[in-house]
């Protein structure tokens, strides 16, 4: 068999496909060896078991939530969940509206409350401060030396707020213990003092009652600090912008704190979010204009983070549980197992059906599906690793549904090849011509699929997204497989003796397809002895009517002459040969198409005989 151009091209394409698959496999292998990738897809909660809560953030003033606020909300929930010691919690946003919290197992009531609670930001003056560790158990301050309030506190900075109980609590607080950094489950009442840790410096403080609520912040920003001459210094600072009420209160507060003088902890005020101190700056000046600037050892990132947190304080977000689902791990595993069984049975049925329809050509379908499956599997594993994509039950359903749509590309292609064979082409050229036509159809129809997947992915929420994602992924895998596997394989198969000669089991047997290949590719002609016998057969009414419409060669010649008189001969002949007419008997003998006349005429001559020949076979079986 000669190594022709298309054959080597086909082999090269297959090598490319092999390289692509190997590349994905190596990527995943390397990922699982050096990183957190795994050879099995990451499973979503409904398959793995656990609890999923969908929370709708609600902004206090009822306005729409902005993307920044949503990110902030996710950050807050993440801190709360991590603080509560739940491992492997996942917090995502959904279509710019909701926050999804996925937890393994069942969360206790405490965790649930914590997640739902709305966060409060407040400004409190510092009453006392100290290093973060708890006083040694054996050396607490004796009871009689505990500070006792001498009088009713006059203002929020008054040390008379410190009661013996509060001081004991302060001493016992160990800010080095991660548990103490948990957000408070029940925030201290606004008009009462509290103790709190500052996570960054690991210091602890006794704080007075709330002086400025976070809602008094209009906005906050960060940037490089300006020097006295307005020149840019190389230090980062955060600027708060209070509203009118906040400006007034904050001026009063800073007047008092500034008067206390630096060096006294009571000069500091604390910005408290969720019971934790975000920042506890000292007061270096009275701020009359409501635009305090916080400077210190900020990096650009920490300045940005503080500014974000302050902005969040301006509009506290509360969370409303939209849905909550607890799925036991066994139920999830059961569903996955049965889903996979269903998929396998489906795949098996598809295999049986394609073998029935396409004989050994069906093997190409099955092999293509397997290759598409491998590519999809690798892609899902890699996306699970890099994008944290998790396969849900809806995703599994998407994969199973995709079997049909993927197989359709092959069916469209095979049917086109058969159509070409019916026109009497040899297999090699039928594959090439069929591919040219099928390619367009496959591309156009897959574009519809991809469009659907994209629209669903970007518009829809929840389960629908996972489904759309697998649908899109399989559409791409399908295109890759049709172009890089199915077509090259068919090109190669067309050159084998088994398929090329149209073995009855190949699924491409021209005599069964009604095409009569005189020219069988590879320079071989049909043996005259094979010429089938014409057998007249009772025909159905429709077929008879159709036959009546047909013409003999003589009739056609006459018709052509008449048409020629009308001056349209040329266009008619060209037109019909381009338009892929289904009846070779009418136009294939047209001498107007130069160069191929001989074989066409011969083919047409045997056409009727051949077709009846196949009907004879049919009656014999």
């Amino acid at each position: 068999m000669p190594r022709t151009g298309p054959g080597t091209a086909a082999k090269r394409t297959l090598v490319w496909l092999g390289a692509l698959t190997a590349l994905l496999a190596i990527l995943l292998g390397a990922g699982s060896y050096w990183s957190t990738a795994s050879w099995s897809p990451r499973l979503a909660l409904d398959l793995e078991g656990g609890t999923q809560m969908i929370l709708a953030p609600r902004v206090q003033d009822g306005s729409e939530i902005t993307p920044e606020q949503l990110d902030q909300a996710v950050e807050i929930i993440r801190q709360r969940v991590d603080g509560s010691g739940v491992a492997e919690a996942e917090i995502n946003t959904q279509s710019g509206q909701n926050v999804i919290v996925s937890l393994p197992g069942t969360p206790d009531a405490q965790t649930r409350d914590l997640i739902q609670a709305s966060a409060q930001m407040e400004f409190r003056p510092v009453l006392a401060g100290g290093p973060g560790q708890a006083a040694a158990a054996e050396t607490p301050t004796p009871d009689d030396q505990l500070p006792k309030p001498a009088a009713e506190p006059q203002n929020a900075s008054d040390p008379n707020w410190i009661t013996p109980e509060l001081y004991k609590e302060f001493e016992a607080l160990d800010c080095l213990d991660p548990a103490a950094l948990e957000p408070a489950e029940e925030p201290a009442p606004a008009d009462q003092p509290m103790v709190a840790c500052e996570p960054d410096s690991q210091g602890k403080y006794i704080l007075g009652p709330v002086e400025v609520p976070g809602t008094d912040i209009s906005t906050a920003s960060y940037g490089l600090q300006r020097g006295a001459q307005g020149q840019s210094l190389n230090t980062w600072a955060v600027t708060i912008d209070f509203n009118d009420e906040g400006t007034d209160t904050f001026r009063t507060v800073t007047e008092r704190l500034y008067a206390i003088g630096q060096g006294d902890p009571r000069n500091q005020f604390a910005i408290v979010l969720d019971g934790r101190i975000v920042s506890a700056p000292t007061t270096n000046a009275v701020i009359p204009d409501g635009n305090p600037q916080i400077s210190g050892n900020f990096t650009e990132e920490s300045a940005a983070a503080l500014a974000e947190q302050l902005k969040y304080g301006a509009l506290p977000i509360s969370f409303e549980i939209q849905s909550e689902q607890q799925i036991s791990a066994t139920l999830g595993a059961d569903q996955l197992r049965l889903g996979l069984i269903a998929g396998l049975i489906g795949l098996l049925l598809v295999a049986v059906y394609s073998m029935f329809q396409y004989r050994l050509l069906g093997l190409v379908t099955i092999a293509s599906l397997v290759v598409a499956g491998i590519l999809t599997y690798l892609a899902i594993c890699i996306l699970g690793w890099t994008e944290n994509y998790r396969l849900s039950l809806a995703g599994v359903a998407g994969l199973i549904v995709a079997i049909g749509q993927t197989a359709d590309s092959f069916i469209v292609y095979f049917e086109r090849i058969r159509d070409e064979l019916r026109d009497g082409r040899g297999l090699v050229s039928a594959v090439e011509n069929g591919w040219r036509r099928a390619k367009r159809t496959v591309l156009a129809s897959k574009a519809v699929n991809l469009l659907a997947a994209l629209v669903l992915y970007f518009v829809a929420v929840g389960n629908v997204r996972g489904f759309a994602f697998t649908l899109g992924l399989t559409a791409i895998a399908d295109l890759v497989v049709v172009f890089l596997f199915t077509h090259p394989v068919l090109r190669l198969l067309a050159r084998t003796k088994f398929f090329g000669e149209g073995h009855p089991w190949s699924g491409l047997d021209p005599s069964r397809l009604g095409g009569i290949p005189l020219y069988r590719g590879a320079g071989r002609l049909r043996e005259p002895g094979e010429k089938p016998v014409v057998v007249a057969r009772a025909k159905n009414k429709g077929a008879t009517a159709e036959a009546e419409r047909r013409m003999t060669i003589a009739e056609r010649r006459r018709a052509e002459q008449q048409k020629a008189l009308a001056g349209r001969t040329g266009s008619s002949a060209v037109g019909s040969s381009v338009a892929q007419d289904a009846e070779p008997a009418i136009d294939r003998a047209e001498p107007a198409v130069a160069g191929r006349t001989g074989s066409r005429a011969a083919r047409t001559g045997s056409s009727v005989a051949g077709r009846t020949g196949s009907s004879q076979k049919e009656t014999n079986e």
């Binding site: 078991g49 969908i54 409303e320 939209q322 849905s323 909550e324 607890q326 799925i327 036991s328 791990a329 139920l331 569903q335 049965l338 269903a342 049975i345 489906g346 049925l349 598809v350 329809q357 039950l393 809806a394 359903a397 199973i400 549904v401 079997i403 049909g404 749509q405 197989a407 359709d408 069916i411 469209v412 049917e415 058969r418 159809t441 129809s445 519809v448 469009l451 659907a452 669903l456 829809a460 929420v461 389960n463 629908v464 759309a468 069964r512 397809l513 009604g514 077929a543 159709e546 006459r558 018709a559 266009s571 008619s572 019909s576 381009v578 338009a579 289904a582 009418i586 076979k617 049919e618």
Partner: protein, 332 residues
């Protein structure tokens, strides 16, 4: 049907020897489609709306799996013992699976009901799952789905109009799509399955599948009718009809191949899994794939032919074809 005769069937369809009058009898198909549409709209009206799942109503749901005891009363008692005025809906959704739905319960109530179910049905703790859905959740899902539907239909119509270079194909495809969607919804309502977010996923997939199927057949029509004005062999309607017939084998094969996995989920789902994500999804798909295939053949293609038949150029071409036939008939 043996393979040989199926192949012959394909051959005859291809050559035009065997031909089904999809285009010629179009008024009959349109009439049937119209009646089906009407019935599909009437079914939910008569039944008093769709059987909305808990995701759309809001409330608490418990599922007890792998239980030997399927007594409905146990489930009802489990809820009423905790919340006396609750009206639980207890359903035996699969051979060994019970589903208990009730109004929204508080956390403590949920835990107590769970405990009651565990002891009542004599199962392990992890065989009982609970979920709570806020009443707006399903609305959010379906609102987004509707937006997705609109955006997709619009973009797909534009895509088709550009690809096929005629808006009439896009229009015909969309008309068929609407019929498919409405009738699928009607049949779904008839089945009394719950409308869940998964079912919505199913509907959206049908959208994609039905249009996909139409594009494949339309591509063949485009091919067959590309040079229609300079050919006198067949009229436009005949050429469209031939295209549908020529792709009939592909339509049958594709829908069978697409249906097999879906059917396998549907029936395995029904007998083994209980009503879950996969079952409502696959029911919607099962109906939709069949209807989508039929919609392309019986509505989209004939409607496209009907839309274009009155174009002056095609009228002229039809006259020429008929004239040629008369001439030939006379010559014989």
């Amino acid at each position: 049907m043996s393979r040989t005769s199926f192949a012959t069937f394909g051959n005859e369809l291809y050559s035009g020897k065997r031909s089904y009058p999809f285009v010629a009898k179009r008024n009959l198909w349109f009439l049937i489609a119209g009646i089906a549409l009407l019935i599909s709209i009437l079914i939910p009206v008569v039944k008093g709306g769709f059987n909305l799942g808990i995701d759309f109503r809001g409330g608490s749901e418990f599922t007890v799996s792998a239980t030997e005891n399927t007594d409905v009363a146990i489930g009802e008692r489990a809820v009423t013992d905790v919340v006396t005025d609750a009206v639980p809906r207890v359903t035996n959704i699969a051979a060994d699976t019970m589903r208990i739905q009730t109004e929204r319960l508080s956390d403590d109530e949920t835990l107590s009901v769970r405990d009651n179910l565990v002891s009542g049905y004599g199962v392990d703790e992890d065989q009982v799952t609970s979920s709570f859905v806020g009443p707006t959740w399903g609305e959010d899902v379906s609102r987004q789905a509707l937006i997705g539907f609109g955006v997709f239909v619009f973009l797909a119509a534009v895509l088709m109009a550009i690809y096929f270079r005629t808006w009439k194909m896009a229009l015909a495809a969309m008309a068929a799509l609407v019929v498919v969607m409405v009738v699928t919804a009607g049949l779904y309502s008839l089945s009394d399955f719950e409308v869940t977010p998964s079912a919505i996923i199913g509907f959206l997939t049908i959208l994609s599948y039905a249009l996909y199927d139409t594009v494949v057949v339309f591509d063949k029509i485009r091919e067959n009718t590309a040079d229609i004005t300079i050919s006198t062999k067949r009229t436009f309607a005949e050429q469209v009809n031939l295209a549908v017939n020529q792709t009939l084998v592909r339509s049958i094969n594709t829908s069978v191949v697409a249906i097999l996995p879906v059917a396998s989920i549907l029936f395995i789902g029904a007998f083994l899994l209980g009503a879950g994500t996969l079952q409502d999804l696959s029911l919607a798909l099962f109906i939709g794939i069949i209807l989508g295939t039929l919609g392309t053949i019986f509505i989209a293609a004939p409607l496209y032919a009907a839309l274009r038949l009155n174009e002056p150029e095609l009228k002229k071409q039809e006259k020429k074809v008929l004239a040629r036939r008369t001439l030939e008939a006379a010559a014989v």
